[in-house]
Each structure stands twice: as structure tokens, then as C-alpha cells.
């Protein structure tokens, strides 16, 4: 039997501004049998999304499908007219996009949008479509499947929206479903639920699918076949097990190495020295501060943290947990509502106004997105030169020489200096971003998700660079991330934030084996492993214990709503105590150390700390 979907020698070209063409996908061939999932994996610019879209006969603006063959069932997609493509899309081939939030129309109900495909193609009567949608909602483990359709997109969570989008794609029983990075924008704890729902529905309905991703660990859970792409060409293809266990291609091995975070140890620290940075009883948020001293939108509460000179503090939490707010408070961009920040033994003025130039110089902040953190109107020399002049008074030849030194420090060629930053790649921009902070010769750098917007390989190189600079220049880092494996690989101490509460704080070593705070446990258990079958091994989480109404207090455990080991009458009535574990880390929980150890919150498993 021949394969259900077959792509042969596909070539896609893009037109340049000067009228020439560049080949962005070259000589790509693969085949998918019915009921199989094929993963397209690669970094940004590898052409994976372009190939996925070409399966629907679609090329993005400025691109066109040049040659080759795309066969789905008995249909040759390349030969179809516009009208015939319209018949194909949504009905026989459907698409699940990365950002469900941007793909739903906010002003129509979910049910209307999920059943829209059926209505456009006149597949079935409205009643039947709605019944089918409810079945799909149930299959995708969505809460309240009978009524969720009457809600609007903003009334459901991001992970639910992503599953609803899958329901939309599946309503027409398509022959091929394209998943385009469907979990990349989600928090890990949400990602695992979405993956589980996808996997279940793909298996139950024997769906043929293409799964586009940059994350090898996710692909390992979802795919039967893997195609590794780089710069528009296939580097390696084969069964998932073969590619993961015995990669034949050099590039695949590089990807694997970057995905397995090595241990990046800093220098040994002398614990007798007073800490460089100390945060005391910090309370921060946005908006007006009321009479009780609470800001209108409280973000961080009761944060105590200290950092040794030369050490790295990892701050981890999901989006909205207050990680970036902490960095902003330390940098002085946001004044705290209460509490203090001490730097080198001195209390820092709460906002920018009171700080001296020397205090500014010693604390530098590096933002996540180098695209928006570098002024597009300035050249690199100007971006790097400003802090040199501003803090150190360098001018002329001295300044030029220092700029060249800085570029060398971040491993970029010195001839970049005259170029505008818009001409650089993402990784290069992030290096400039870092070099600008280094230009001040700071003691402390606040790194806010510096690798989150980068590809795995590029991100790993930035992390290596940071580790090297840190030893070389005796820098202290506050490293903010949502990825626990990165934090564990980089940092000496780890602070886990959940919705502004410091739920756990301790040395890196203590984040390998339990007891953990229940949230830390969930976080660690949700990180996909680079092994097939991991998703199945991680047991389904049990239903949350029933609890009564909570008292109204900000001081209750914020994790209460999602905690698998909450206790009625305690967790919903009293603020949790801060428990000091024997080995030294602090946990904010009603459960004691012994209890947390014994609770064995499923899925309990030792986390192999990567290759290191």
C-alpha cells in the first residue's frame, strides 16, 4: 500500500526585493502512512512551517511552490486551482496554529467558530455539527464539554483554547491535520495537559498528522516519524526511536546536545562574605497603594532573597508569576509598596530618581526580546558606546577600542560596529544586548528570559557565554526563566515563584530530589523528557481534593486552586507557614517536610539532570 501523504522533491522559493529568488525549501521528500504522525523539526528559518503550509497548497506572501509533488490520498495538491484548494483546506487538510489566542475571533462564541468549517463546506446540519463538537470537546478532556461552546474565547484559558482549536480542526474528519508548534506558547504545566489530549485524540481517531516543532522532547512524545530540517533541506529522517537514540547526522546531534542542558557551574563561592544583593520583605504591584499598604494590583508579596557576589540566582515561575516584576523592582523601574532592596550592604533608593549613577552602573538589566530591547534607529557602535561615555567618560579612539573589545567578549566580529542592529540575527542581537550591559562593567546583571525567544542551539550558546563571562568577570546574575531545566543548569540558588508568592527557595542541588513544594513538583514533573513514552509514563494527575469555601485573604496559599494535596479546613483558612527543610531550602506549605516526602505526589520521579 502506498503512503497516504507523499511529498516529493518539493521546492519553495521566495522573491527578494531586488527581483531575484532564494530557495527556502529545497528537495524535500517524505511520506506519511495513514494514522501516523510525522514531525518536522528544526530551528526558526529551517522551513518547517513553510513545508507544513505547502501541504495545504499555500505559500506565504512573496513565496511560491516552485516544483515537486504533494499528494494527499489521490489528489495532487500542486495541480489544484484556487477553488479546488478552497475545497481542500479545512475539509481534507486542517491546521492548528501556534497562537490559539490570536486565531480565535474574540466576538463570536467558541461553538460558532468550531462548527464554522462544517458550515462553510456544507458537511452536516448545524445540530449534528454541534453534537460532534461536544464529542470532540469531551475527547480532548475539556471541562464542561456540554456548555463550553457557548463561551467566548477570553473566558477560557490558553491551554483550553489550544485544545478547542484542535476540535475546530478535527470537526471535518480531515485526512491530514497540521499541528504548527501548538504548545510552544504555553507554560509547561499546561503543555503536558494539551499534549496528553492531543495524543489521545490522535490515537483514538487514527489521525494522520504533521507535527511542527522545535522541541525534540515534545516531538519524542507525539511523533512516529521525524524529519530534521536545517536551512530548508532535510538533514535526517527516520523513525522517532532511531533519530533520538542513534542520530546519524551531525546537525541532529547538535540539536540533541543543546536540548540536554549540561551543568554550567560557576566558580566556588565563599559564603562568609556578606551578600551582594538582598531583598527584604518585598511587596510590589501596580496601581495606587491603599491604606493597608496594598497596591491595587498586587504582584509580589513577602519576598526575601539574597545573592552572593559571583553567584547566580534562578527565578522560575509561569507567566504572571511576578518574575519580571522582581527584576524591575531591583532595577528601580518599579518602586516597591513595602520592603527594601539592599545592594552591597546599602539600602537602594526605591525608584530611579534617588539612585546615583554609580548605583545605576553596578546593576544592569538584559531583557528577553532583543528585537525590542535594542533601538532600531541606532547602530551597534552607538548602542554600545552610550554606556561607555555615560558611565566611564570614554570618547574617541578609546571608546572605539572598548567597543571592539566588547564585541570580542561576546564573540562577535568587530566589523559589526557600524551596522544597524536590524541587520543581525536573533542570537547576535541577544549578544549585543548582553554586551551593552557588560559595557557598564556591572556587578549584577538581571537576565529576564534572555534565551526564551531564541532557538535551542542559539540559546545554549548564549547560556555558555553567560557562564564563561560570569567566571571571567566575577559577575552575579539574577537569571529569570520559565524553564526549570535551564535554571537548574545555570544557577546556584533557585527561587520558585507562584502568582507572586515565594513558594520554594534553596540551593540548586535540592531541586533534583523531593521533597518539594507541590508546585515545584508539578513544574519539574511537567518538563518533557527526551524519551519516547514519557507522556504515557507520567501518570494522569488525580482529581483535586474537594475543599470548602476559602476565606477572603491574600495571604492564603495562591496555589490552592491547583494543589493536588490541599487540605480542607487548613489550606483554605490559614496562611501557609514557611517550612525550613533539613537540607536547607524553604517551602511555603502547610505540609511539613516528612509529609511532603511521604505524599509522593504523582507523578513522582527522579529527574535526571541531563547529560552532565
Amino acid at each position: 500500500m502506498s503512503a497516504h501523504v507523499e511529498v516529493q522533491q518539493l521546492q519553495v522559493v521566495a522573491e527578494t526585493d531586488t527581483g531575484g529568488t532564494i530557495t527556502i525549501v529545497d528537495d524535500v521528500s517524505f511520506a506519511i502512512d495513514k494514522g501516523q504522525v510525522l514531525a518536522l523539526i528544526g530551528e526558526s528559518g529551517s522551513g518547517k512551517t513553510t513545508i507544513a503550509l505547502s501541504l495545504m497548497g499555500y505559500a506565504r506572501g512573496g513565496c511560491r511552490l516552485e516544483s515537486g509533488s504533494i499528494r494527499i490520498g489521490a489528489t495532487e495538491v500542486m495541480d489544484l486551482s484556487r477553488e479546488q484548494l478552497g475545497q481542500l483546506r479545512g475539509r481534507r487538510v486542517s491546521y492548528v496554529a501556534q497562537s490559539a489566542a490570536a486565531s480565535f475571533n474574540p466576538s463570536r462564541t467558541i461553538m460558532d467558530q468550531v462548527t464554522e468549517v462544517a458550515a462553510i463546506h456544507h458537511l452536516m446540519p448545524r445540530q449534528q455539527a454541534q453534537k460532534k463538537a461536544v464529542e470532540l470537546f469531551r475527547a480532548l478532556a475539556l471541562p464542561e464539554p456540554d456548555s463550553i461552546g457557548s463561551r467566548y474565547p477570553h473566558q477560557v484559558s490558553g491551554g483550553q483554547l489550544q485544545r478547542l482549536m484542535a476540535a475546530m480542526a478535527l470537526i471535518s474528519d480531515p485526512e491530514l491535520v497540521i499541528f504548527d508548534e501548538p504548545t510552544t506558547a504555553l507554560d509547561v504545566t499546561t503543555q503536558i495537559d494539551v499534549l496528553r489530549a492531543f495524543k489521545k485524540v490522535v490515537q483514538e481517531r487514527n489521525i494522520t498528522a504533521v507535527y511542527v516543532s522545535h522541541d525534540l522532547a515534545v516531538v519524542a512524545q507525539m511523533a512516529d516519524q521525524v524529519v530534521v530540517l536545517n536551512k530548508g533541506a532535510i538533514r535526517e529522517q527516520g523513525a522517532t526511536a532511531q533519530v533520538l537514540d542513534a542520530p546519524r547526522d551531525e546537525y541532529t546531534r547538535t540539536l540533541m546536545a543543546a536540548a540536554r542542558q549540561p551543568q554550567r557551574h560557576g566558580p566556588e563561592l565563599d559564603s562568609a562574605v556578606p551578600p551582594l544583593l538582598e531583598v527584604r520583605n518585598l511587596l510590589a504591584g501596580y496601581g495606587k497603594i491603599d491604606r493597608q499598604g496594598q497596591p491595587a494590583v498586587p504582584i509580589l508579596s513577602d519576598i526575601n532573597v539574597s545573592l552572593q557576589r559571583g553567584a547566580t540566582l534562578g527565578v522560575i515561575g509561569e507567566s504572571g508569576s511576578g518574575k519580571s516584576t522582581l527584576a524591575r523592582v531591583i532595577a528601580g523601574l518599579l518602586g516597591p509598596a513595602a520592603g527594601q532592596v539592599l545592594f552591597d550592604g546599602e539600602v537602594l533608593p526605591p525608584t530611579l530618581k534617588g539612585r546615583s549613577r554609580e548605583q545605576f552602573r553596578r546593576i544592569q538589566i538584559v531583557f528577553q526580546n532583543a528585537d525590542t530591547a535594542l533601538n532600531p534607529a541606532h547602530t551597534i557602535a552607538r548602542i554600545l558606546g552610550r554606556p561607555l561615555t555615560f558611565y566611564h567618560g570614554y570618547r574617541g579612539a578609546k571608546k572605539q577600542q572598548r567597543i571592539a573589545e566588547l564585541l570580542e567578549l561576546v564573540q562577535l566580529p568587530a566589523n559589526l560596529a557600524g551596522r544597524p542592529c536590524s541587520e543581525l540575527s536573533g542570537g547576535q542581537k541577544q549578544r549585543i544586548n548582553l554586551a551593552r550591559a557588560l559595557a557598564a562593567e556591572p556587578d549584577l546583571i538581571l537576565c529576564d528570559e534572555v534565551t526564551s525567544a531564541l532557538d535551542t542551539v542559539v540559546g545554549a550558546a548564549i547560556l555558555d557565554l553567560l557562564t564563561e563571562l560570569r567566571s571571567k568577570l566575577n559577575l552575579s546574575l539574577v537569571f529569570i526563566s520559565h524553564d526549570i531545566s535551564t535554571v537548574r543548569s545555570m544557577c546556584d540558588e533557585i527561587l520558585v515563584l507562584y502568582s507572586g508568592q515565594k513558594v520554594e527557595y534553596g540551593r540548586r542541588e535540592h531541586f533534583v530530589k523531593p521533597p518539594f513544594h507541590p508546585y515545584t513538583d508539578l513544574l519539574i514533573a511537567s518538563v518533557p523528557e527526551l524519551q519516547q513514552g514519557w507522556l504515557e509514563r507520567v501518570a494522569q494527575r488525580p482529581a483535586l481534593p474537594e475543599i470548602g469555601r476559602s476565606v477572603k485573604s491574600l495571604e492564603l496559599c495562591h496555589f490552592l486552586e491547583r494543589c493536588p494535596v490541599r487540605i480542607d479546613g487548613r489550606c483554605n483558612r490559614l496562611p501557609p507557614p514557611r517550612v525550613q527543610m533539613q537540607r536547607g531550602n524553604e517551602v511555603l506549605c502547610h505540609h511539613g517536610e516528612q509529609e511532603l516526602r511521604e505524599l509522593e505526589i504523582p507523578p513522582l520521579k527522579c529527574v535526571a539532570g541531563g547529560a552532565g
Binding site: 529551517s46 513553510t50 523601574l333 530611579l352 538589566i365 533601538n375 541606532h378 536573533g426
Partner: protein, 276 residues
């Protein structure tokens, strides 16, 4: 400046540049080149067609249209350009200032501008002209004041957005002052949209000037700007007289030229679309 002058300009940009240069030349030297004085009645026939003794025909009084246009371009272009520049510069400067200022100052300035924008520009112009008598300087000031609030609003909203960008946050965390933030970090990124706005506003100014001239309150006869040429010859429209078409064509080429030129300066500002 953020313009990349080494990049070869686009074809439409060149057309725009050529049109703008042509009209600047006409504005500067038109009155010297005109074959007849501006108010001279040269023919007994009104609304003569093109060609013949008078290249662009004659107007409703039998005056030479070519000469009238050559004389009139000076008012339209000069006055509109300076007035639009005045409004653009004041608006941008104030908008930028408001965006980096403390809240109360921003609020005060913005509400004042709101009050100003609520006055209809034509009524404002009529009242001012009634009070002070029409003159080129007064027209300039009126238009400058009337169009500043619009410019201010656009400049302020651009600057407020830019001010929240991370590169500005980095500069603030570096300890930079307000002036540096406004001038070095924010302004270079709003020049292109402000130029586009200037092009649009220039067109509005031409229209306001023309309507004032039509009411007899703008440029005073025998001088006439392009707008008043259109208005005074409006009766020739039915017979397709060049006297009404030519000044209209002149206005069209000026405004299109300005906008083409500005659009091409914008260059490839589009963000390179990465893989989604």
C-alpha cells in the same frame, strides 16, 4: 538621520522627488517665468482651450491661466509648506515632551490640545481674519495653530508607545535623563510616521487655504493661490475648461508628489517577518 541614502531609491520615490523639485522650482522662480503679469486681462475670449496663443488657455476673465498658475504656486506651496512645517514641528515637539513628562503635565497639555481641537478650523480662521485682517503671516499662524493639535495627538501616542519599549526601559534603568530619552531613544523612531502625517497635513492645509481664498479671506486678488484659481473658474467646469482643470491638476501633482516622496523615505521599515 535614519534615512539610508546609500540604498537606490524606488521608481515611485524618484517620480515623487521629481514632482516636488519641479514645484519647488515653480514656487521659487514661477513669477519670473510667467509670460504675463498676474492680473492682466489678455484675451477677450474667456475659457479658451489649451494650445493656441495661451498655452493653458484663459480663465473666466480672459487672463492667462499659465501665468496665474506660475504666480499662484508660490502662495499654495510656500504658505502650505511653512504652515504644515510649523504645525508639524510644534505638534511633534509638544507630543514628545508630554510623553516623557510627569503625568500632571501630560494631562494638562493634552486637555488644552483637546480644547483647541474642538474649535472648527474654518470658524477659527474666520474669527481671526475678522479681528486682524487677512495677511500671509496671519494665515500662517492660523493654520499652524489649527493643525498643531492633530499632530500633537499622533506624536504623543507614538511617543507613549515607544516610551514603553524595552530599549527605553534599558536607557531609563541606565539613569538617562528625560531629554536624552526623548531626543535620542524615542524621536528617531517616530520620524517616519510623522513625515507621513506631514504629507497628509500638507494636503489639508492646501484645502483650507483654498477654501479661505474662495470666501475671499485668503490670498487677496489680484494674487491667487491654486485653490482660489479652481474656485474662481468653477463655472468653466461644465465645458471642461482648462482654467479649472489645470490648477486642480497642479494641486493633485503637488500633493501626490509630496506623498510619494515621503513614502519612499520610509524605506524598508517593515519588520523582517521571521518564521511564525
Amino acid at each position: 538621520m535614519p534615512f539610508n541614502l546609500t540604498r537606490p531609491p524606488s521608481a515611485t520615490g524618484l517620480i515623487g522627488l521629481a514632482l516636488v523639485l519641479f514645484w519647488l522650482f515653480v514656487a521659487l522662480f514661477g513669477s519670473l517665468l510667467a509670460p504675463h503679469p498676474v492680473g492682466e486681462i489678455v484675451a477677450y475670449d474667456v475659457f479658451e482651450p489649451t494650445g493656441g496663443a495661451y498655452l493653458l488657455g484663459t480663465d473666466y476673465l480672459g487672463r492667462d491661466v499659465l501665468s496665474r498658475i506660475l504666480h499662484g504656486a508660490r502662495f499654495t506651496i510656500g504658505l502650505a509648506l511653512v504652515a504644515a512645517l510649523l504645525a508639524g514641528l510644534t505638534g511633534t515637539a509638544l507630543g514628545l515632551f508630554a510623553a516623557v513628562s510627569p503625568r500632571w503635565l501630560d494631562e494638562t497639555l493634552s486637555r488644552f490640545m483637546d480644547a483647541l481641537i474642538s474649535i472648527p478650523s474654518k470658524i477659527f480662521a474666520l474669527v481671526m481674519i475678522a479681528a486682524f485682517d487677512s495677511s500671509a503671516l496671519l494665515l500662517l499662524l492660523i493654520i499652524g495653530i489649527a493643525y498643531t493639535p492633530g499632530c500633537y495627538r499622533i506624536a504623543r501616542s507614538l511617543a507613549v508607545n515607544l516610551n514603553a519599549m524595552e530599549f527605553v526601559l534599558v536607557a531609563r534603568a541606565r539613569g538617562e535623563g528625560r531629554l536624552y530619552l526623548a531626543w535620542v531613544e524615542v524621536l528617531p523612531n517616530m520620524i517616519h510616521p510623522m513625515l507621513a502625517d506631514f504629507g497628509l497635513r500638507f494636503v489639508y492645509v492646501v484645502l483650507l487655504l483654498s477654501s479661505l481664498s474662495f470666501l475671499g479671506l485668503g490670498v487677496q486678488p489680484p494674487d491667487a493661490d491654486l485653490g482660489s484659481l479652481v474656485r474662481e473658474n468653477i463655472s468653466g467646469l461644465a465645458e471642461g475648461a482648462p482654467a479649472v482643470l489645470m490648477p486642480a491638476l497642479a494641486i493633485a501633482t503637488i500633493t501626490i508628489g509630496v506623498n510619494l516622496l515621503i513614502d519612499s523615505l520610509r524605506g524598508k521599515i517593515r519588520h523582517a517577518a521571521g518564521e511564525v
